[in-house]
């Protein structure tokens, strides 16, 4: 049973201020090209809200991810290969660009060239695809910060059913949070399983999920197969593109661009070790509420000498194993259980996890918004504020409120614990132990979650060039899609180094 290493990310939602810096820097690096104007490998959604693309979480409609068949076997929700092959000329589950948004610019030229007139000239919006004038009805983050939420938040797929009535009430008390999203680099990726051409793959070394641009034939099943809608179709090249986890940076030991530039410094990147034999079983547990536990059960404890010995025997480099021991992802998700996966019920075993936001809860307590809550009793508040907890649970734990409650209690306990240290001069160990965390661990958790030093947040072992044909340093400073830009933009490029030669060599051998 080979052990594999997997890169993962944790985002601490408490700290996200919804500034979209991550989205913009990512876009400038990766999707600032014709055909990808509408593509945001990283995007930030306001919740409650509809998300990007609109209502992506509604899998009754998009049929992304996996489900269990009658015999309890894992299968793609959108159907098997035969059904897909028959539908290959028109994918019934594919979102159109209007579900994302039609990208536009403004006719600024008109401001200069308009003849003199009584009224000031106006720069009208025009489509970046067709150049035709657009009547804007929807756009990126159209419902940002609850804008137009009477109309839009009502459609949030997480609010369905019993939650609908209750969240509306909460709504009047302005409950809002941000959800930054990238590709989950799933351990059981349904995008990869959906690809007819075999163009999508997981990298063996770090689990990053990529699209081979040379092998992709534009069948589009990855787009509909991904329940998170994090593979995109470049309408100009006719190929799929997706978040690369900034692999050229990761290989050099640097965090992704979104993480590096995050204003809230809320992203943590690290390695986890898992047992590749346990993947199918973990993704196939019948009860959705058990999926989180099953995924946690796949991760191996890097402090266990036997695990380390086996990992080394399976070819995982020593420094990677050491990095796994210091992994912030392992600490937050497995050791302390304060981070939770996004929609585990999609059964893709996602690897971007979230620390649920305590702030909406805390502000209700501290500002005495809810008269039933005793301001001194944070735990009581978490339990009584059933609505946000259940709402969070519908995103982060397949609807099971317990893991969310545990995470929030631990975060609240951490605050209380540190408060006793600062105010009383003596940290109250009982507060930590009450939530099952030893005081020393509470200190570590505080360092990771609250302080978040650069070197604690990012523990990224470098790639091992000796293990492959191309030294990643030769690709330094290059974007994996650079030759595309060169052809499309027709810009002036120094051709003495042809990146493509190197990429093709890597991928040619991989094929």
């Amino acid at each position: 049973m080979p052990i594999r290493a997997q890169m993962g990310m944790v985002m601490n939602l408490d700290k996200c201020i919804g500034c979209h810096t991550c989205s913009v820097t990512c876009k400038n690096v990766w999707t600032n090209r014709r055909g990808t104007e509408y593509v945001w490998f990283n995007n930030v959604e306001t919740r409650p809200g509809r998300g990007y693309p609109r209502d992506w979480e509604d899998q009754d409609r998009w049929r992304g991810g996996w489900t269990l068949d009658r015999k309890g076997k894992l299968k793609l929700k959108s159907g098997g290969r035969i059904k897909k092959a028959l539908n290959i000329f028109h994918n019934p589950d594919l979102p159109t660009i209007d579900d994302f948004y039609e990208p536009w610019t403004y006719d600024y030229e008109h401001l200069i060239s308009a003849p003199s007139s009584e009224h000031q000239p106006v720069a009208r919006p025009e489509s970046q695809i067709s150049g035709e004038p657009l009547d804007l009805q929807w756009g990126p983050n159209w419902d940002d910060d609850l804008a137009g939420s009477a109309e839009h938040a009502a459609n949030d797929p997480n609010r369905r059913g019993a939650l609908e009535e209750r969240i509306r009430m909460e709504f009047e008390q302005s409950f809002m949070m941000y959800l930054p999203r990238i590709c989950e680099h799933c351990i059981n990726p349904s995008c990869v399983a959906s690809c007819p051409s075999g163009a999508m793959y997981k990298r063996e070394e770090d689990g990053i999920v990529l699209v081979d641009q040379e092998t992709c034939r534009g069948w589009r099943y990855c787009v509909s197969g991904c329940p998170y809608k994090k593979t995109y179709f470049n309408w100009d090249t006719g190929k799929a593109e997706k978040c690369t986890f900034c692999y050229p940076r990761i290989e050099a030991g640097l965090p992704t661009v979104c993480a590096e530039t995050c204003v809230g410094r809320l992203r943590h990147i690290g390695v986890v070790l898992y047992d590749s034999d346990s993947v199918v079983a973990a993704a196939s547990v019948p009860d959705e509420h058990d999926l989180l536990g099953a995924q946690l059960g796949m991760f191996l404890d890097p402090e266990d000498p036997e695990v380390r010995r086996r990992a080394e025997a399976d070819g995982i480099p020593h420094d990677w194993i050491e990095a796994a021991r210091r992994s912030p992802v392992y600490d937050l998700a497995v050791r302390w259980r304060v981070a939770l996966p996004l929609h585990p019920e999609y059964r893709t075993l996602p690897m971007v996890w979230y620390v649920p936001p305590l702030s909406p809860v805390m502000s209700l307590v501290e500002e005495g918004v809810d008269p039933d809550v005793d301001p001194g009793d944070v735990f009581g508040a978490i339990d009584q504020l059933r609505i946000p907890v259940e709402y969070l649970a519908s995103m982060l734990s397949a609807g099971d409120p317990e893991p969310v409650r545990l995470a929030l209690r631990r975060l609240a306990a951490m605050r209380a614990y540190k408060r006793t240290e600062t105010v009383d001069g003596d940290a109250d160990a009982a507060l930590a132990r009450a939530v099952g965390i030893e005081p020393e661990d509470m200190e570590l958790m505080f360092r990771q979650v609250a302080i978040g030093d650069y070197d604690d947040r990012y523990v990224i072992p470098k790639a091992h060039p000796e293990a492959g044909p191309v030294d990643p340093n030769t690709l330094q400073g290059a974007c994996g899609l650079e030759w595309v830009d060169r052809e499309i933009r027709g810009g002036e490029v120094d051709d003495s180094f042809d990146l493509r030669d190197h990429i093709v060599r890597v991928e040619g051998q991989a094929r």
Binding site: F89, T96, K202, W235, T237
Partner: protein, 239 residues
């Protein structure tokens, strides 16, 4: 045997096949990146649904019909008990159904490409040429099918089919094409042009029918060291 006949029925076929073969090898080697369906479903899905499905399934049926009518000699179909009358019924019903599907599909596809601005901007000059050739090819093909059923002027199993098979013997029997209905002659020649342009156009995606898909393990791994790890993916048990 006029010079133009030699051009159309001996030179053009071999030139087209040469372009077809060499073109594909060249394209496959140098231009994997643009080898794609160039689907526009993202931009317009409603009309594509009717157009694309009708066109592609119709095209499959039409290809099947051509195999039956051109590649397989009449004596063979006779031998398995499909007599001339039965063949006529099959070719009339099948041919007209397939033809209607292809023409309807292509009409919708061309219409949306021309009328819907988003789709129009993705259209290359080669697309225009290919669509035009396809249109002429399917309309003339349909005309042949209809003429064959309402008149007694076509007889492609006695002229075009033997000539086509003679091409494989590297001994083109140009003379059998004498006196063939001009619509059928046009159809045949246009299709050769289409073959010649095939590797240089979006039609290449036809060779990407994902056959390997059915035996590959669903979750693929690739390592830096190369080698697709189908084996290890299978070992991980992801099915």
């Amino acid at each position: 045997m006029a010079a133009w006949q030699v051009m159309l029925y001996a030179v053009l076929p071999y030139a087209a096949v040469a372009a077809f073969v060499v073109g594909h090898i060249w394209r496959y080697r140098v231009d994997q990146y643009r080898w794609t369906t160039r689907s526009t479903q993202m931009l317009e899905s409603r009309w594509l649904r009717y157009g694309s499905v009708a066109f592609h399934y119709g095209a499959f049926a039409a290809i099947g019909g051509h195999v039956l009518g051109i590649l397989i000699p009449a004596s063979w179909t006779d031998a398995v008990g499909i007599d001339e009358d039965a063949y006529h019924v099959i070719s009339a019903v099948g041919g007209i159904t397939a033809g209607v599907a292809v023409i309807a599909g292509l009409t919708i596809l061309v219409w949306r490409r021309a009328r819907i601005a988003r789709v129009r901007v993705t259209t290359t000059r080669m697309d225009v040429v290919v669509f035009a050739l396809l249109a002429v090819a399917v309309i003339s093909g349909m005309a042949v099918t209809i003429l064959n059923n309402v008149t007694d002027t076509i007889h492609y199993r006695e002229n075009v089919a033997p000539w086509f098979r003679s091409l494989f013997a590297l001994d083109p029997d140009v003379r059998t094409m004498d006196g063939v209905h001009w619509v059928l002659q046009a159809h045949v020649s246009i299709v050769w042009l289409l073959y010649a342009l095939w590797p240089f156009s979006r039609l290449v995606h036809a060779w990407s029918i994902p056959v390997d898909w059915f035996r590959r393990s669903p979750v693929l791994f690739r390592g830096r060291a190369g080698r697709p790890r189908h084996a290890s993916a299978a070992r991980s048990g992801v099915r």
